[in-house]
């Protein structure tokens, strides 16, 4: 074919590609967050909407400004900033002042993501860094909880358990559905589970991380319960209370900051589970999901290094 107008393309194989791409994957994560979003808006009303909007809008704005300032190719922008913003909103109290939410979101995108090199290069989960930053800066606002629907100030379920104030612990069913106080997107284990199952079905996340994370928390709290005689409700309470489901399905599974090897993912989840139980039972905070994942993010490269797969055709060396 010598037709100049229709030159053939010469390229390196393979010449087929799956329909997968990064923007589509991020879109799927946003879809997976919809059930929890609806529950959050239902239980926490207008304040929740305001916090969510503040986080998402400022995250996306900060993303665009960073891309522009760093002269990155705007054609490669995708929805990961929206995911970061939404995830950050989900782990904030619904009554948080809007400007604080926006500040946390901008910190997450600018400091935790772009200053580390942008998409794919950050060491820490940006949303969790945003939360950690806000918790350190505004400890009171970040630990003021309200009850669902009526918005009366109350303690969080884990706070009640930690301080043993004598307040009635919420029922397991309410914990599962989300009818309890807490960060606006973390309360409904059911809604988060639906989203998590969707991501598993779409093969965007590996069951090993949520599986080992939740499993470790359940097993360890069961052991504590057996020793202290708390009964079966105790480990189930720990499973559904706080941000464990949000962390297990949406934060710990973050592609960029979790291990790439299968064994590594199990270690990652189990390590995070152990840290959660230690922080909840022995630490100063009632909740430990955020720090458990951030701490495991630090050791992710190390985990990857020591869990490298055996190459096909090579017997594992004993060195």
């Amino acid at each position: 074919m010598t037709n100049q107008d229709n030159l053939l393309i010469v390229s390196s194989s393979p010449h087929l590609h799956s329909p997968d791409n990064v923007p589509a994957a991020m879109r799927d994560v946003l879809i997976a967050l919809i059930p929890a979003l609806l529950v959050a808006v239902y239980y926490f009303r207008l304040p929740a909407v305001m916090v969510i909007l503040a986080c998402v809008v400022s995250a996306y704005g900060a993303e665009l400004i960073c891309l522009k300032m760093m002269k990155k190719d705007m054609a490669t922008k995708e929805y990961s900033a929206l995911v970061t913003g939404l995830l950050l909103a989900f782990c904030l109290p619904p009554t948080l002042p809007v400007w604080m939410a926006a500040l946390g979101s901008i910190f997450a995108i600018v400091i935790a993501k772009h200053l580390f090199g942008g998409l794919g290069h950050n060491i820490f989960n940006p949303a969790l860094i945003g939360r950690a930053f806000l918790l350190a800066s505004f400890p009171v606002a970040m630990t003021t909880w309200v009850s669902p629907i009526d918005g009366v100030t109350t303690a969080s379920p884990l706070g009640i358990m930690k301080k043993a104030t004598g307040q009635q612990l919420p029922r397991i069913a309410d914990l599962f559905l989300g009818n309890v106080s807490g960060s606006l997107g973390e309360t409904s284990a059911l809604a988060l589970l639906i989203g998590g199952v969707y991501l598993l079905y779409k093969k965007h996340i590996d069951w090993r991380i949520p599986g080992s994370y939740l499993g470790t928390v359940f097993v360890l709290t069961s052991i504590v319960s057996a020793i202290k005689g708390y009964g079966l409700e105790y480990p189930v309470f720990h499973l559904f209370a706080g941000g464990l489901f949000l962390g297990a399905f949406f934060m710990a599974t973050d592609w960029v900051t979790s291990p790439v090897t299968k064994t590594g993912r199990i270690i990652f989840g189990a390590g995070a589970g152990l840290l959660v139980v230690i922080i909840r039972l022995k630490g100063g905070y009632p909740e430990g999901v955020c720090y458990s994942i951030l701490l495991m993010n630090v050791v992710t490269p190390l985990i990857d290094r020591y869990t490298k797969a055996r190459v096909f055709g090579r017997v594992k060396s004993h060195a």
Binding site: M1, T2, N6, L7, L8, I9, V10, S11, S12, S13, P14, H15, L16, H17, S18, D20, N21, V22, A24, A25, D73, A75, T76, E78, G118, L119, G120, H121, H204, D206, W255, V256, T257, S258, V260, T261, K262, K308, A309, R310, V311, F312, G313, R314
Partner: protein, 444 residues
């Protein structure tokens, strides 16, 4: 029953319906054929003919020096009109013998039926296979007589025929298996005798159950040949993955050969060619080839003479269906794109795939997001994304430490990468650099 398979790999849409079920068409024999003097791995051939010479069909016209080489034969009778450097579908330029077809189809005297082929010993069988210029017809084009030669201290326990054809679009092996099952079985029988081994396996993917039935019938008289059905997965037809699926053994990494685990793998097409060579003395001058893809008006399988230009076959298929983007020599996962359709069919040409493309520009490449889909897909258990990072940096030594040379370039990683990183391209670069450095060191 759980079907045999391997770990890793990907599921691909086959696009095989474009050509499967249509009987193979004997391709028009062209007026001019172009025979590259290098169609195999090993020493290239030197021409045995001069411009102006008359040649007969099946006459040896090129041979190489040394052991690892394969002679080349005239696919038509006629006159040598030129010997010139031309493009090879592999992307290189090689000397090529051009023969003008006289249309008489006269066989050379050397081509005659072999008396009592059943009584030949392994050395005689290997000689006949060498004489016929047979090479691996799945695309690797390794000279078969070399593969069948005994290696000190290693014994072939089983001969596996590869009828997997896991590349999308390609159905030429499938059609060969349906149309000539008894030739394949006969060829396998001779190969088993040539390597002094009494166990044969024909491995077929479960999307070709008609071929399984026919080969089972053809193999019924032989109690030492079994048909194995494999799960449909890419790259099941890759030699090492196929051996693992058949025997549970892994070919040692770092330059190990199938024979190290007592296996010899051959394409089904090679077996059929061996049968023709051993029984009838016919050299390798034609082969099955799939012409498919959305850029072709009438996709079909052809029985085509070596040396036929791609263009001639495409014309016979009604030409291009509109403007096309890529012409691929081989399958779309591992085949090479060519920039010109005037390249000849060679011994290793299993197919031509013509793709229109969707007209949209290729998706921009994103940063790696560490999703690990490439790691899950890699049938060699490598970390493609880490290799790419090292390749981009030019860290060849580290890449070698990460076993870059174990990459089989199957393309599974690139196929599924959501960031659209051309992983195989980067890995190839590192692999070539590492191999070149090794070679340089060995020569010191």
């Amino acid at each position: 029953m759980r079907k045999a398979s391997f770990k890793g790999g990907i599921h691909l849409h086959g696009y095989k319906e474009l050509t499967s079920g249509k009987a193979t068409i004997p391709a028009r024999i062209p007026d001019k054929v172009y025979i590259p003097l290098s169609q195999h791995i090993g020493a290239p051939c030197a021409s045995l003919v001069l411009v102006g010479d008359e040649v007969k069909k099946g006459q040896r016209i090129g041979e190489g020096k040394g052991f690892v080489t394969a002679p080349i034969h005239a696919p038509v009778s006629g006159k040598v009109v030129a010997i010139d450097v031309r493009e090879h579908p592999g992307g290189t330029f090689v000397p090529c013998i051009m023969i003008e077809n006289d249309g008489r189809e006269e066989w050379a005297d050397s081509v005659k039926p072999i008396k009592d082929p059943g009584s030949l010993d392994c050395k005689a069988l290997r000689d006949l296979i060498f004489e016929a210029g047979i090479v691996g017809m799945g695309g690797a084009t390794f000279p078969s007589h070399v593969k069948y030669s005994p290696v000190e201290g290693k014994k072939a326990e089983v001969v596996v025929l590869n009828g997997i054809e896991c590349e999308p679009y390609l159905t030429s092996d499938h059609h060969l298996m349906i149309e000539k099952p008894e030739r394949i079985v006969a060829g396998l029988h001779y190969i088993m005798r040539a390597v002094c081994c009494d166990k044969g396996i024909i491995a077929i993917e479960d999307n070709k159950m008609d071929a399984v039935d026919l080969l089972q019938k053809a193999a019924a008289p032989y109690n030492n040949i079994t048909i194995m059905v494999m799960a449909e997965k890419y790259p099941q037809g890759s030699e090492k993955q196929l051996i693992y699926a058949c025997t549970g053994k892994e070919v040692p990494a770092g330059g190990g050969l199938p024979l190290d685990v007592g296996v010899i793998v051959n394409n089904v097409g090679t077996a059929a060619a061996v049968a023709d060579a051993v029984e009838n003395g016919i050299p390798l001058i034609e082969r099955y080839l799939t012409l498919s893809g959305d850029g072709i008006k009438e996709p079909a399988n052809y029985l085509v003479r070596i040396g036929t230009l791609f263009k001639d076959i495409i014309d016979q298929s009604g030409g291009y269906a509109g403007p096309v983007e890529k012409i691929i020599a081989g399958g779309p996962m591992m085949g090479k794109t060519i920039y010109n359709d005037e390249v000849p069919v060679v011994k290793g040409s299993s197919g031509i795939v013509v793709l229109k493309g969707d007209g949209k520009p290729e998706m921009k490449e994103f940063s790696c997001v560490r999703c690990a889909k490439c790691i899950d897909a890699c049938p060699a258990f490598l970390e493609p994304t880490s290799l790419v990072r090292l390749s981009k940096r030019g860290a060849w030594e580290e890449a070698e430490h990460y076993n870059v040379t174990s990459c089989i370039e199957c393309g599974s990683c690139s196929y599924g990468c959501p960031a659209h990183i051309p992983l195989v391209q980067h890995i190839r670069k590192a692999k070539q650099a590492v191999l070149a450095a090794k070679k340089a060191q060995a020569n010191k």
